[in-house]
Symmetry: C2
Subunit: 309 residues, 2 copies
């Protein structure tokens, strides 16, 4: 059994913590404010059944767990908290520790390796849908695909990656090793960047956005700009052209999720900060870095930020 | 005394009709649906006092007034109805008739001269604020400047323009002859294009849009694109650069109107079609005509149109 640390007990962190602990690992969690987690046990329900677990410890002070030798640290905070989270766990990363970043968007790996050795940082693309009902209690609503795990530059010993994937998989969370994790993450960035901000701004479902000719034009332009930005930055995508992706987007990706509102919609509704900086905002930064301003993405980011305040 | 026809009895048309009739002219009105105007008399109140008038006729069928020799026709419909309105009055425009278009935005003159002789079509920049309380009853809330009237290419005999301006002025509506009417209209297009759609999308007042750094950036980009579009189309503006206008916009234009919501905001709230096609939408068309897509304006137009449906 392994020593595992979960950073952040949101909708994703609660699922990882509960399943891994229930399987038998020693699981700890770091949160921002421990006083919100007075619950004795974590609970997860939904499409994968009912699960409960009492963690070995929940803390908001890493000094309390600094002597534990963690095999695995799963960072499950929002993308805008990645840098803080990585700074927090820096001293906990030992010789044998593997870190998985599960956040949305672009820039999480790039931020993490400013503080941690590259080969210790894996990326996980999480695409099951879960929501937090109250602290310690999450519901899993949908699973679009396995959690994909890999190293963006394939710098981690393969055996070690596969072992990590197995740890997660055996706990009951479908997971797969991926040698193409970067491309796979970019698939999600494309999808989320096209749909999330518009759904949040206009309060519309994915299907409505796809049907309306005006939002369709905006989404197409967002996608085209992302392809331009990636080409200028030598970032490889799973699709050879924007048009190829756009076709796939409307025919394969939207239909099964057409009734969904994006998480960003709920974020704005409840006055929370959105992950726009890691999605369209990251596209703008990547573009501007090479002298190209993706104006549609920039306008959309500005509107979301104006609504955040 | 003159024969005058008002096309459209909205917030602007009702004011013109009432003042001109009260002064003693023979005033008729064409509306879309006569049955909505069962009122005996028009009424206007607000900053210019109380005024009432019984028009010589309100009709939705120009056949009924085709034998009247109109000296002046004031078109006061929304910009998206300009083409229909002009087609409707085409047969009423005689040798001595002068037409004034009072609509917002770009493209009204260009549309009108497809059907009417150029030299008969004057433009009027209306910048008093009035709202329609119910059919036949309007309130004037603010007057930013005289109604400016002129021919965009100065093709109408000056004497005739001045006579028309005097007709309006004597009736009690402040009006001035302008040799630069096109530039003056563009001032209003700049102002409205920057503020109206964003205020409508975000439900924010002019002052809030100017204070928020994100909406400020969008507005600056909208303005810069308009200057680009005008330069590429050889359209002369009153300002030598976007920066000069931007400075004037924030320091002089916004402060006195900071508590206003744009009319487009009320249009969207009440499920009405907006005038976006004559503002940012016209900018997009003018740009695309010369091979340049103003992407910020286009994105904003698409969002407004998605909200209209």
């Amino acid at each position: 059994m392994k020593n595992i640390l979960i950073v952040g007990l949101g909708a994703v962190g609660t699922v990882f913590a509960t399943f891994l602990k229930e399987y038998g690992h020693r699981v700890y969690a770091v949160v921002k404010d421990k006083s919100k987690y007075s619950c004795n046990s974590l609970k997860v329900d939904g499409i994968w059944g009912e699960h409960t677990a009492v963690l070995n410890g929940i803390t908001d002070n890493t000094q309390e767990i600094k002597n534990i030798n963690f095999d695995l640290i799963i960072v499950a905070v929002k993308s805008f908290d990645t840098e803080n989270a990585v700074k927090t766990i820096k001293e906990l990363v030992k010789e044998n520790t593997i870190v998985i970043l599960t956040q949305n968007g672009y820039g999480n790996y790039e931020t993490a390796i400013k503080y941690l050795p590259k080969e210790k940082v894996l990326l996980g693309r999480v695409i099951f849908g879960s929501k937090i009902n109250k602290p310690c209690y999450a519901t899993i609503t949908v699973n679009a695909d396995d959690v994909r795990i890999g190293h963006p530059e394939n710098l981690t010993e393969e055996k070690k990656v596969i072992e990590t994937v197995c740890t997660i998989k055996h706990s009951g969370i479908p997971a797969t090793y991926s040698k193409d994790i970067y491309k796979i993450l970019w698939d999600k960035i494309l999808y989320n960047s096209a749909l999330n901000p518009l759904g949040a701004i206009l309060k519309k479902r994915y299907g409505e956005l796809a049907e309306n000719p005006y939002t369709r034009e905006i989404m197409n332009n967002i996608i085209k700009e992302i392809f331009d930005v990636c080409r200028l930055n030598d970032i490889q995508l799973n699709f050879s052209s924007a048009d190829e992706y756009i076709e796939f987007f409307y025919t394969k990706l939207i239909p099964p999720t057409k009734d969904h509102y994006p998480s960003m919609y709920y974020d704005l509704l409840s006055g929370k900060r959105t992950e726009t900086d890691a999605l369209n905002g990251a596209i703008v930064k990547l573009g501007e870095k090479v002298g190209y301003t993706p104006k549609v993405n920039k306008t959309i980011v500005n509107i979301v930020k104006a609504l955040e305040i």
